[in-house]
């Protein structure tokens, strides 16, 4: 799925080098389709992003400076970067493991597990937050037990990480899975026949092929986690300077009619996400080049 999409993009982006000749060959209908695609993406993504940049940086860096001077601003951005990075690393490792289990093993309940993986995308993230508080809140049996042992989950940083792990769960799994499916299990078996243990075979044969996909999935996870709002509002308690995250900080700025400042901080977040998505695309492309030269 991800691969076909990339190929389409690839084709769409083909340089107009052979310009005139190619143009004449093209059907008007195809241009119509491209027009729709471009206008749609423009309306949905490019225009709003431009508006935010213009709003936030129309007067240079003044808005950004004001925003960062607000109490808890820098801490909020730092916290968001930190928790998103943890989510990317943890789901990078465990997501790969789950993908491997789903692809390589046949066991009862496997298809149920495959469905469960997608659940976080089907559940509104706000609901995810409510579920986490219901399970890990300080007044619940589980949360109370943890609290007595000095581990605060909800209304503390671990709760934020947990929420991010849940809402981004499918990303690494669904990026790694198709690559694993393409990978010939015979290679892994050959390694084992030649005497490699299970772990060695995985590390030397499977992992190198998966690495770009894992990195791509982890970067997507990071980018997605940067903007998470719904689940975090519920679990974090929003303590300024401690558990207040960047998206909620932006929300608070708009609440105080500080729209320019909100736009300035937003632009930083999506600029970061944009760079990460670019890197991800590059990684996926490299992988395709290697898998199917």
């Amino acid at each position: 799925m991800a691969k076909t999409l990339d190929r389409t993009l690839e084709e769409d982006r083909a340089p107009p080098a052979k310009g005139a000749a190619r143009f004449s060959r093209l059907h008007a209908g195809r241009w119509g389709l491209r027009g729709v695609a471009i206008v749609y993406l423009g309306l949905l993504v490019v225009l709003p992003l431009t508006a935010v940049i213009v709003k936030g940086y129309g007067q240079g860096l003044v808005s950004l400076r004001h925003a960062l001077a607000a109490p808890g601003a820098v801490a909020a951005i730092r916290l968001t970067l930190f928790t998103s990075a943890i989510a990317a690393i943890v789901n990078g490792v465990l997501g790969t493991l789950i993908a491997y289990v789903l692809v390589r093993f046949r066991f009862p309940g496997r298809s149920t597990l495959a469905t469960v993986v997608d659940m976080p995308f089907a559940i509104p993230t706000l609901v995810t937050g409510v579920m986490l508080v219901a399970l890990y809140g300080p007044n619940t049996p589980v949360g109370g037990f943890l609290a007595r042992h000095g581990i605060d989950v909800v209304f503390a940083v671990p709760g934020i990480v947990l929420a991010l792990l849940v809402v981004t769960l499918p990303l690494v799994i669904r990026t790694v899975e198709p690559v694993l499916l393409e990978l010939d299990p015979a290679e892994e078996e050959a390694a084992r026949v030649l005497g490699a243990g299970g772990w060695t075979a995985f590390r030397r044969v499977v992992l190198p092929a998966l690495r770009p996909a894992i990195a791509a999935g982890a970067l997507l996870t990071f980018a997605r986690a940067l903007g998470e709002f719904g689940a975090i509002v519920i679990v974090s308690g929003n303590i300024t300077g401690k558990t207040l995250t960047a998206p909620y900080f932006i929300f608070q700025l708009t609440g105080n009619f500080r729209f320019e400042e909100a736009a300035a901080v937003s632009a930083i977040l999506f600029g970061l996400s944009f760079v990460l998505v670019l890197v991800t695309e590059r990684l996926v492309k490299n992988r395709e080049a290697r898998v199917s030269p």
């Binding site: 007044n139 209304f155 929003n238």
Partner: protein
């Protein structure tokens, strides 16, 4: 039960005394003392000024003891729910009394929080109309909001506890016979007024502040909101104009110490000190200057200050309408509450 609570408190205290190197004895807070403060979103800027003022005063009066604040701002009702679910707030500042009552009902506030200065209220405002510059639709009274073709913004009472102020204002004005065409105590008339207004509601926003944000982006002819919100918007450079209806409700915002949490954290003294400070003249000046909030005393609030705060013809309080308990049943009760029925009729 109380014994267990006392034991827990003692255990928690001995832990924090041990941390601060003390030797048993009475509960002493850690140094610096940490107060966790949960408030509704609007007064964030006010508390940004009040808290440092309190910290300085406390330090001066208590041999240099420092107090650190952990501040959390969010919707009033969700903050109350968070405290019930275990958010360790020592002090709460909320938008309306019923939000404090639910915390008390959960057993976390054990004293009668209304038996303090100003009945537990620290700030006040009034329900007003936020209109386009020049008031092109000539909206001056509640009855004007029922004209056909008008677009009204008001928060959703199902999502925002604070939204109920707008409904209480409408209902109260009608019940008091201050809306032309509706006799005093005419419940049916009050219901029709609410139906007429809510039939014109175009967007039910998440909160009063969202209504103004939405209004600012060009939606609607009028947003029913609070006076302090309009002042805040005007200060931010928005060209909104405010209309105070002849009869409206005094919005009273409560503050309370969450005893159980404060005791657990050994900060009861500091928490009480903070709440006392919120009732001081210094704090009142800040509420008025930074937060555009009126004094909590109804007579004073009605009079205004002859400058920024205009005098109001007929200003009533929730108590004048029989208190929240009665309003909850009579107006918001399901399925027979006056608003509940009016809303169904307007949207059905």
């Amino acid at each position: 039960m109380a014994l267990i609570a006392a034991l827990l408190a003692a255990a928690a205290c001995s832990k924090s005394t041990a941390n601060s190197g003390g030797s048993g004895g009475p509960c002493t807070p850690s140094d610096p003392a940490v107060i966790t403060f949960a408030a509704y979103s609007t007064p964030r800027e006010v508390y940004g000024k009040i808290i440092p003022a309190f910290q300085a005063k406390w330090k001066e009066d208590h041999n240099g003891q420092n107090v650190i604040f952990q501040e959390s701002y969010g919707g009033s009702t969700s903050q109350a729910q968070n405290v019930i679910k275990g958010f360790p707030a020592d002090v709460v500042a909320l938008s309306l009394a019923p939000d404090v009552d639910v915390i008390a009902d959960a057993g976390l506030i054990t004293h009668d929080w209304t038996q303090v200065a100003d009945g537990g209220m620290v700030s006040a405002s009034v329900v007003v109309f936020d209109v386009r510059p020049g008031n092109p639709k000539q909206l001056v009274d509640w009855g004007d909001l029922t004209q056909s073709g008008l677009d009204i913004l008001t928060p959703d009472p199902a999502a925002s506890g604070g939204a109920r102020w707008n409904i209480v204002a409408t209902y109260g004005a009608a019940e008091r016979g201050k809306v032309s065409g509706i006799a005093a105590s005419d419940d049916a008339g009050a219901g029709q007024l609410l139906t007429g207004i809510f039939a014109n509601v175009r967007v039910l926003d998440k909160s009063a502040r969202d209504s103004i944000k939405n209004f600012e982006s060009g939606n609607g002819d009028v947003a029913i909101t609070y006076e302090n919100e309009v002042f805040t918007a005007q200060k931010a450079g928005l060209e909104d104009e405010m209309v105070i209806p002849p009869s409206t409700v005094l919005i009273e915002n409560p503050v309370a110490v969450v005893d159980k949490n404060a005791a657990d954290h050994c900060v009861t003294d500091v928490a009480n000190g903070f709440v006392d400070f919120l009732h001081s003249q210094d704090a009142k000046d800040l509420y008025a200057k930074t937060g555009f909030l009126r004094p909590t005393d109804p007579a004073q609030a009605q009079q205004g200050d002859g400058d920024k705060f205009a005098a109001i013809q007929d200003l009533f309080t929730v108590e004048d309408l029989g208190g929240w308990d009665q309003i909850d049943t009579k107006v918001f009760g399901d399925p027979d509450g006056i608003f509940t029925k009016a809303f169904k009729e307007a949207t059905g």
